[in-house]
Amino acid sequence: MKRTLLIARREYVAYAKTVGFWLSLLAFPLFAVLGGGIPLLIRSAEPIKAVAIVEEGPQASGLAAVVQSALKAEQDRINQRAQDAAAKGQAGAGRAVASLGGPKIRLVPAPGAIADASTGPSRDEAIRHALDKSTPDDQRLDAVVFLTRQDGRPAAQVWTGRANDSDVGDFVRSALRTGYREEMLVSAGVAPALVDQIESFRPEVKAFSPNAASGGEVSMRDRLPSFIGLGAGFLLWSLVLTGASILLNSVMEEKSNRILEVLLSSASATEILTGKVLGVAFLTLTVLAAWGGLGAFVLLSAAPQTAVQVGQVLLHQGLVFYFIAYMVGGYLMYAVLFAAIGAFCETPRDAQTLMGPIMMVLIVPIMVMQMALTSPDAPVVKILSWIPFFTPFLMSARAPSDPPLIEIILTLIGMFATAALMVWIAGRAFRAGALSDVKLSWKSFGRAITGRG
């Protein structure tokens, strides 16, 4: 035991001293900030497009005003949302809403060469010139919209500087559709005020379920468990992947540096394997604790009510302990396997022979876990969660939707039995691999396990 802890401690300290560890510790919060911040940044940095609108002929009269008023209405709506957010004390969120929402469009008067010209090559030439990049900024346009009517219905021709720019076209389409609807309703005798009322109507829809926490109305509290389950599944997946990769590299380094033989003369293969698995587990737990602590802090300060609900969900019927059990089993299964593979390898290339299939296996739960969020009882999710290698991920994702107790117990037994088998196999393979110069292959791995190596 003492030797196991010594090896675990060395493993922990060796990695805690590396730059990579601190990077991974900071990476998640950093990417969370970046992940949230980048779309805002892109949107707010997006330039406002200068768009000229031209009504073609008297039949198009009034269409420019429709587009203009749609733009103003959209802007008013965004401003209102930003003010509402600011009023709730979320100034940052208000700014974010203001910068994210709405079309980035500025209507400008059309140059005479375009507005006054009739259709033909000279007008086309004027448009091309106005949209050309080399045109001075004060004369340059991002888009020119020609509004017209076909069979009495509004239509548009949109010229844009960039061929793949669909923002202006989308906005004009939406504005014309709304305008036409209003026009038709008014012409059918509906009062304009009533049309506005109908347009702005948003029905209130409440969801009810006998399984909701309140016994009736479904709230965020009821949706939270599924998200937490999915989060736990993904967290376990990343934990397994990072932890197991650290182990693989660590054992590989010891093998290539000829340290494994010295270690084996000082401790048993089981002690070494356990020590290393423990050390890396503590390491990943440190990262998890740091992330979890930070996440809890942010949640508590930003949305204390949600934080309390998350706590309630985790403690409800000991859900957190299910997660821990699946986490332990899942980590153990994969970690010892990776460590055993590492004992046969001196370079990452050596490891690829076996890593490929294992990575393919690990991709399956990622795909199925998302299905578990919406349909936790789908047959494919149920069946796959019985396969021990998928159990920890899929059962974590399913756990909040209360799968039958018998399924929980049996999958746990299956998973821990497989984990025990993996520890046994890995112990044998580790010992054989550590002392052998045989290159890793399915054959050599098999021989090591069966003791014929």
């Binding site: 060796a14 540096n257 000829r258 003369s265 000082s266």
Partner: protein, 311 residues
């Protein structure tokens, strides 16, 4: 004298390949024993079986009173053939870590490490990382790491390989020091000169089988003395001299004339001069352990044994 290590009829097979065959020998307590043989003779396999790293296919091993080296691993120090330590650790940390695995408290390990590094002239490198040390320095550190817990039995697999003559001499002194402190030392080598200078006892291994067990002098006595002759002499003329067992023409033109057991050599020389042979230089030489090895096994200790290594 009681034995610290006894092997009886030990055999190791890897599939169809027999790495060690029916090997028996004993190492007395407090002695330095050389385990000699060319690469591929089965030395490393035997040492791993002694340590309990690999099970013997058959036979019995007794080390420090235990039937399995793993049961007494804290009383054994081991330096493997292919060496390495954690590159990012300092020598003191590495020595203390491996000492701790053998039950030595970390603080005591660090204290001893500093003293031992100082004794080996590595005082200035204590705080450097292992990757910054030269190969010779790193090898010394690893040797210290394998004996810092003051083991009763020290097993060194090819400890001299890769060391320059200066460091080889330092290592010889260290091995003598270990034995002087009461430890039993078993080391494998294919370089006979080290064994000749250090060993109380040698075990010669060839193609997985024991070829000899005894003292260095006993081993040498199995090989004939020989005359080293230089001059315009044909091998046939030399072979016709009295007391000659056989003649080997060396590449540089000299003749290596092996004498029959009991032949003094002077008689042979006298006959050569009286017979008018063109002897320009001569020397009467005692057999070396190297000669004894070749005589006993038919193998050359510096050349790998021609066996398929299937492990």
């Amino acid at each position: 004298m009681t034995a610290a290590l006894t092997l009886e009829g030990v055999t190791k097979r890897y599939g169809d390949f027999e790495a060690v065959r029916d090997l028996s020998f004993a190492v007395p307590k407090g002695s330095i024993c050389g385990f000699l043989g060319p690469n591929g003779a089965g030395k490393t396999s035997t040492l791993r079986m002694i340590l309990g790293l690999q099970p013997a296919t058959s036979g019995r091993i007794d080390i420090l009173g235990a039937s399995d080296g793993r049961l007494v691993r804290d009383r054994i120090g081991f330096l493997p053939e292919e060496r390495g330590l954690y590159k990012k650790m300092t020598p003191v940390e590495a020595i203390a870590f491996f000492g701790a695995l053998k039950g030595l408290p970390i603080a005591e390990g660090k204290k001893r490490a500093k003293v031992m590094l100082e004794q080996q002239g590595l005082g200035a490198s204590q705080k450097k990382k292992m990757k910054e040390l030269s190969k010779g320095m790193a090898q010394k550190v690893q040797l210290i790491a394998s004996v810092v817990h003051r083991p009763e039995f020290v097993i060194l697999d090819e400890p001299f390989s890769g060391l320059d003559p200066m460091n080889q001499q330092g290592l010889e002194e260290m091995i003598r020091g270990l034995a002087a402190d009461g430890a039993t030392v078993l080391f494998s080598t294919h370089v006979m000169q080290h064994a000749e200078r250090l060993c109380d006892k040698v075990v010669l291994l060839a193609r997985g089988r024991k070829a000899f067990e005894g003292s260095v002098d006993e081993a040498r006595s199995t090989s004939p003395r020989f005359l080293d002759l230089e001059g315009d002499i044909t091998p046939d003329a030399a072979a016709a001299l009295p007391g000659v067992a056989n003649v080997e023409a060396l590449a540089d033109g000299r003749l290596k004339v092996a004498l029959l057991p009991g032949a003094a050599g002077q008689e042979t020389l006298k006959a050569a001069f009286l017979g008018g042979l063109d002897v320009r230089r001569f020397a009467l030489k005692e057999p070396t352990l190297h000669d004894a090895f070749i005589g006993l096994t038919g193998d050359h200790p510096d050349q790998p044994a021609v066996r398929e290594i299937a492990q």
